[in-house]
Symmetry: C2
Subunit: 140 residues, 2 copies
């Protein structure tokens, strides 16, 4: 992360209200279809890197580290536009998602719907998690 990239992002970063843990939720939406793909979290460094590179980088709360989406799985998210909400405490990322966003192999993480009191699966995996991560691996 160069100082230049951070400086370029400064006006955007200044508008974001990071929470007590230094994080802000980011909603990823496929830019053309409008499909909501996932929600993850970003810290200042993740926002700055995403703006600088055009490839979406989150912050993994479980791994406590930057999470370059697709680094392991190849399922990259190219940023088309970053938007900030009225209160500055949520981001909307318009992205171009390669392949699938969900670690289960589904296009979107929101594949379970509440229907008639039950939770039903409304989308099937397009690819197996093993094909994305190899056996024994997790998110990426």
């Amino acid at each position: 992360m160069s100082q230049d990239a951070t400086n370029q992002a400064e006006a955007v970063l200044a508008a974001i209200r990071f929470d007590a843990n230094g994080l802000v939720p980011a909603v990823a939406q496929q830019h053309d279809s409008g499909e909501v793909l996932m929600l993850a979290w970003m810290n200042r460094a993740a926002v700055a890197e995403t703006l600088a590179t055009g490839r979406v980088c989150y912050f993994s709360r479980s791994r406590n580290a930057l999470w370059r989406k697709g680094e392991t799985s190849g399922q990259l998210q190219q940023l088309r536009e970053l938007r900030v909400d009225c209160d500055g405490d949520t981001l909307l990322l318009l992205v171009d998602q390669a392949g699938v966003a969900c670690h289960t192999g589904r296009r979107s993480c929101f594949y379970r719907a509440a229907r008639e009191g039950a939770l039903v699966e409304i989308a099937a995996p397009l690819v197996s998690p093993e094909a994305l991560y190899g056996p024994g691996h997790s998110h990426g």
Copy 2:
């Protein structure tokens, strides 16, 4: 909130991983246009009430109380479908938004976009906040 309504929501509530504060982020998306309108938070009671009534009810962190969207402003959100993500820690609400979702009078809260290092407004208010809340009032 009747016991029946809570019981009906039990299967859905069981799949949701509320955070340490008993909350889960909920993304509201206009069901037909795909526009992402806002992100707010829900607790168990808010989810149960929303499923029971079909009118979206959030939990206001600033007021520490249930927030029946549109109760003050009239800008109701009718629930079309509630979806749960893979990890159970985010909700997607497909809604039919009456009027505007944002307390600034804009259709969506995400009206600022990062473009060429600056944050620019990409949508104008459709109605004045005073018309929504009267002078001196806040969100609703």
